[in-house]
């Protein structure tokens, strides 16, 4: 193997310093579940590599119903996280138990479709990504971050900030097996209703329906201001189907994914409707 150095920094500052020093030559991993797979597959030959697993960012902090999830928090820990809408559910449907021990919340932001399911409930909750570099810290909306995953040479994702969930949520995932499977599609919805039963705030997020997890904004617009009923749910499902941009791969064709986006947006909204 041609990797000449493997860095295991003990603090975020050390990690940032290494990133500044080595820039693009340094392959960064959280738990290694993406990077090591690519190495074994012959798709990645890191000259230099760094693990963030011991850099002291594996804590979840909760304050006033908001969460600050350290980037190296194991997915296994998120399966036990109560009060973060459907994030625990999505985490529990990701891989198997041994993979969830290693895989990290921050690493999942870098997983390309049909992986990266955690981003789906996180988008439905309007999560933000906290990025640290030598100049200090900044935050970016998750949606914006996922569109390019742009980090400067000296920057790292250090945490995910999740606002207090509002309204009612649902998360559904379709794979090719019942467990331990990438997604054919994944859908998270978060719906706030006013006193008269009208939707005032709707978030619909899709996984495996585009190169990265995305919001289905036309579907959200189709529901906003309306009651959750068969007609409005159908309109939202059709809008989501029309606006998504899925790929064909070994799991499913683009055509099938688009059909399933419609079905699963409908089912997720039905589930929210039933809990009212």
């Amino acid at each position: 193997m041609s990797t000449t150095a493997f860095f295991v920094p003990r603090t975020v500052d050390e990690a940032i310093e290494l990133k500044r020093e080595h820039g693009k030559n340094l392959v960064v991993m959280g738990g290694g579940t993406i990077v090591m797979g690519l190495v074994h597959d012959g798709q990645l030959f890191p000259k230099l590599a760094m693990s963030l697993a011991r850099a002291g960012m594996s804590d979840v902090r909760r304050r006033d119903g908001q969460f600050e999830i350290g980037a190296a928090t194991p997915v296994a820990r998120l399966t036990e996280l109560k009060g973060a809408a459907t994030l625990d559910r999505a985490a529990g449907m990701l891989g198997g138990p041994a993979l969830r021990t290693l895989a990290t919340a921050g690493g999942n932001l870098f997983a390309k479709a049909p992986y990266g399911d955690l981003c789906v409930p996180l988008l439905a909750m309007d999560a933000e990504v906290e990025i640290a570099g030598t100049e200090g810290r900044r935050t970016a909306p998750l949606e914006q971050f996922l569109s390019r995953r742009a980090l400067k040479n000296d920057e790292l994702v250090v945490s995910i900030r999740v606002p207090k969930p509002r309204g009612r949520g649902a998360y559904l995932k379709l794979g090719r097996r019942q467990a331990n499977t990438p997604s054919v599609v994944a859908v998270a919805v978060q719906v706030v209703l006013d006193g008269t039963g009208k939707c005032t705030d709707v978030r619909i997020a899709l996984g495996a329906a585009a190169p990265q997890a995305v919001r289905a904004k036309k579907a959200e617009a189709a529901l906003t201001g309306r009651r959750l009923d068969a007609a409005s749910i159908s309109a939202a499902a059709q809008a989501a189907q029309a606006e998504c941009n899925p790929a064909t791969d070994s799991l499913a064709s683009a055509w099938y994914r688009r059909e399933m986006v419609g079905v699963f947006v409908r089912r997720a909204l039905d589930e929210v409707g039933r809990t009212i």
């Binding site: 193997m1 990797t3 150095a5 090591m36 797979g37 597959d41 296994a76 138990p97 041994a98 331990n180």
Partner: protein, 165 residues
């Protein structure tokens, strides 16, 4: 900071005893176990985290040894199938897998038993659904899973009767 430059000696608490391996950067725990320590129960399967055949315990957590650089296991307890029992003294899970014909080609067996041990250590009396969830990361292409799940149920019964260790 633990920086690994070129080869480095890594010490593991392996199956109850300290062992040292000399590893290059990014050498995985699986490679160290199989090729340096000659413990061949842990299998090399997909190398992608999809099959579970390399599953071992790191401290008390279930991990995929093919995805874990061995440097990250420095000083920690690693438990492989060889560490829970052997031909002269089988673990109740090994006995139950034998009795229920839960191994056919055997490639998934070590990973299955480690995942089952992890489950029974935390939950000595699991439901069938809990067994299925615990083994969800382990693929078997021979058995159809039914004998494996029955073996885990039986092992749980044997262990709760005090037959286990």
């Amino acid at each position: 900071m633990a920086t690994q430059l070129a080869v480095q000696t890594v010490t593991l608490q392996l199956n109850g005893r300290p062992h040292a391996v000399v590893a290059a950067p990014l050498t995985t725990l699986r490679t160290a176990l199989r090729e340096d320590l000659h413990l061949h129960a842990t299998k090399a399967g997909c190398g992608q985290g999809g099959c579970g055949s390399c599953t071992v315990l790191l401290d008390d957590e279930l991990v995929l040894s093919c995805l874990l650089p061995v440097v990250l296991a420095e000083g920690r307890r690693v438990t492989t199938l060889e560490g829970i029992g052997g031909p002269s003294r089988l673990h109740p899970l090994q006995e139950a897998f034998h009795d229920h014909f839960a191994a056919q080609c055997g490639y998934c067996t070590a990973g299955m038993i480690m995942a089952a041990k992890w489950l029974l250590d935390r939950n000595p009396n699991p439901t069938r659904a809990e067994i299925q969830a615990a083994l969800a990361g382990n693929l078997c292409r021979c058995t159809g899973y039914v004998p494996i799940i029955e073996a885990v149920e039986d092992a749980a019964r044997r262990m709760s009767k005090g037959a286990g260790r």
